[in-house]
């Protein structure tokens, strides 16, 4: 069939799916096939098929596998970052539910491409550094802080990967000594990044009364608190 031009509408309106308004003979007339035929001396114009470019000669393969090899089905799926809960927006105060900082209230900065949440204490207030956190282990509160003054563009998942340890052959004596030296100090660059993010945040936090103390305190359930009835 000849290729359809983009934007070409059907001249035969649909009455019901599968049934057009006009019959074949009426459509022949509407499309003007009679006029095209008359212009080209009684028959529809035929074009010469375009000369196809010559295909390169394929060599017979050197190796034929003994059994049939299945070709894998192509997978074009591109994973998207985890869907962020609507209660979690940049600047929300989150409560961490698991891990070393269980119960701490932290400020949410942004969602990283891997889907994890970038979060900071701020470090001076509650000791939580710039850190990645899974959305599933977090409660989003309805308290929001203005983080428009904070620049978080430079942080992504690569920033948080562990550095690869270089393997060197050690003798037995060296093994025990080297172990003690393994604990690495935090590079100054990371400390500066933490400070840069936190100074802006702390300015915004100090504007709200009691917010600093709130972020410094841990969350816990007391007697009579029913989590399914609490409003966060």
């Amino acid at each position: 069939m000849a290729a359809k031009k983009a934007g070409a509408k059907s001249r035969n309106p649909e009455l019901i799916r599968g049934i057009g308004k006009y019959s074949r003979s009426k459509m022949y007339h509407k499309r003007g096939i009679w006029a095209i035929k008359a212009k080209h001396g009684g028959s529809l114009p035929r074009h010469e098929p375009k000369a196809a470019p010559p295909k390169p000669a394929a060599k017979p393969p050197k190796f034929y596998p003994a059994d049939d090899v299945k070709t894998p089905i192509p997978n074009h799926r591109k994973p998207k970052p985890t869907k962020l809960r609507p209660s979690i927006t940049p600047g929300t105060v989150l409560i961490l539910l698991a891990g070393r900082f269980m119960g701490k209230r932290v400020v949410f900065l942004k969602q990283l491409p891997s889907g994890l949440l970038l979060v900071t204490g701020p470090f001076k207030i509650n000791g939580v550094p710039l850190r990645r956190v899974n959305q599933a282990y977090v409660i989003g509160t309805s308290t929001k802080i203005d983080i428009s003054g904070v620049d978080v563009e430079k942080f992504d998942d690569k920033y948080f990967t562990k550095e690869k340890k270089k393997k060197t052959k050690k003798s037995e004596n060296e093994f025990f000594d080297a172990r003690i030296e393994e604990t690495k100090a935090l590079p100054q660059e990371k400390k500066d990044d933490q400070k840069a993010v936190d100074t802006q945040l702390i300015k915004a936090i100090e504007l709200v009364p009691d917010l600093k103390a709130y972020l410094g305190a841990r969350f816990s359930l007391r007697a009579g608190m029913k989590p399914h009835e609490l409003v966060f």
Partner: protein
């Protein structure tokens, strides 16, 4: 010992079970031994079992089965809303609602306020104890 709150036409009651839980309604007619016809300004008039109603002290002056407009007028005249909100029962319910709606940050602020209040009370108490001892 005798009953003080009677089921009568015009008695204001609180719904304590069901879809309309927590609503103030007026008893507008009695259907039979167990049910009443009940009405409120923002509700379609309907029947309710007495077991779903908790009678209050408030009573308004209406004839049997008043029209919606006259019911609303009678409620305004008797000032049901303000009487309810100033009664101790009504005030308790308002406080309960407010406490349930507290944010996590609000709960923290309340905790700080309670500690502060406790501190002030203890200070005064210490002062009074010293006065008494001397």
């Amino acid at each position: 010992m005798p009953f003080k709150r009677y089921v009568e036409i015009g008695r204001v009651a609180l719904v304590n079970y069901g879809k309309d839980y927590g609503r103030l309604v007026v008893i507008v007619d009695v259907v039979d031994q167990n049910r009443a016809l009940v009405d409120a300004p923002d509700m379609v008039r309907g029947q309710m079992n007495f077991k779903r109603l908790s009678l209050t002290d408030i009573k308004i002056d209406i004839p049997r089965l008043p029209k919606k407009k006259s019911l609303i007028a009678a409620m305004e005249a008797a000032d049901v809303k303000n009487k309810w909100e100033n009664s101790s029962w009504g005030r308790k319910l308002i406080v309960q609602k407010r406490r349930a709606a507290l944010n996590d940050f609000d709960r923290f602020k309340v905790m700080l306020a309670r500690i502060k209040r406790g501190g002030a009370i203890q200070k005064e108490l210490a002062k009074l104890k010293k006065q008494n001892a001397s």
